[in-house]
Symmetry: C2
Subunit: 179 residues, 2 copies
DNA sequence: GTCAGCATGTAAAAAGTTACATGATTAC
DNA sequence: GTAATCATGTAACTTTTTACATGCTGAC
């Protein structure tokens, strides 16, 4: 029940439709949580039965109607309770690491290509985060208290992307490939 | 079908029982892939039907018998084929990031405690990795070709742990907490 | 005598992925 | 006319998690 909490945070910041939530998961929280729209719609339905969120239809001009979800008081309580639960270790799943480990048994060129691709992905994501950072937090030392959490998450995302990028470079160098 | 490949790599390096595989997932590959013993036993059963692995019982003195699994030729082909597939983006799920984002809506002290705990976890894991590195790869510049993949994965694990540790410190500092 | 480690599983429930399905508008 | 964006879902399937279940040995 962890996607629920990610959705609750997102809705606590601002009400949204399922579609909008899906796009937020591609962006801001994106680095630390990913969810497809199918999954989000399903979970939203359950959360509404559980009274954690409530929705109403909003008509739009020249666009389909949308169902906008808002967090309820009960949802806020649930979210606060979540912050008090112990945090377990992170769940990681790296296909790339499995492939690296498979170097002696697999196709070296294909693995190198995967690393190059991953490097490009990290570079692109990092550039996106840095643009966000420059725009929304021009002075990191003076982030207002209510935005501190969001800033720290973005900062963590940048750290992780930079780290991933450097790792890719290390790998390419060790494999004697120029990037 | 990704746990399968992680298991194939592990068995390609050395045959093992389900129990031993589960422990390897706690250690070496641990940083990049995690699996419970229940899951491993189930997947091993399927993999044996699929002829990717084969097993035989090994009697032991003063310990329960164990079923040792070995990779088959077909399993090696499957593993090689896997290294040729395109690598998608990493799947990440960070409860801690969700909690940070929930700072304005949750319990600050509890969140800080989670960050402290995470910092301690990173420090402990990093120490373990560094011990492995010192022991198995005393000279990183001279790692033999067949161990290069394993070394790069370990190096990636150390990078990630250091990165996580620094992030925790950044968070604690921003929240005005001393570690 | 109790706890940790070795060893292997089943069953049920929850979570997540993939494929399918529809339909309007706007930009090229 | 074709593709992208907005917008919402269902169905089938796979994967993962959690709880339950057992039993021996060796160390303290």
């Amino acid at each position: 029940m962890a996607l629920e909490h990610a959705i609750l945070v997102s809705l606590a910041e601002r009400s949204a439709s399922g579609y909008e939530l899906a796009r937020r998961f591609d962006a801001s929280i994106g680095h630390f949580w990913r969810a497809s729209h199918q999954q989000i719609y399903k979970v939203l339905g359950r959360m509404e039965s559980d009274k954690l969120v409530e929705s109403h239809l909003v008509a739009q001009e020249s666009r389909p109607d949308k169902r906008v979800y808002a967090i309820t008081a009960e949802g806020r309580e649930e979210l606060a309770a979540f912050t008090r639960t112990p945090t377990g270790p992170e769940v990681l799943r790296s296909d790339l690491a499995v492939k690296l480990r498979a170097l002696p048994f697999g196709d070296r060129d294909a693995i190198v290509a995967s690393v190059r691709q991953r490097r490009a992905d990290h570079a692109a994501t990092l550039a996106g985060y840095e643009a966000s950072a420059a725009r929304f937090y021009p002075d990191p030392a003076a982030v207002p208290a209510e935005q501190l959490g969001a800033w720290l998450v973005l900062s963590g995302g940048m750290r992780a992307e930079r780290g991933g990028l450097e790792w890719c470079d290390e790998i390419l160098q060790a494999l004697g490939e120029r990037r």
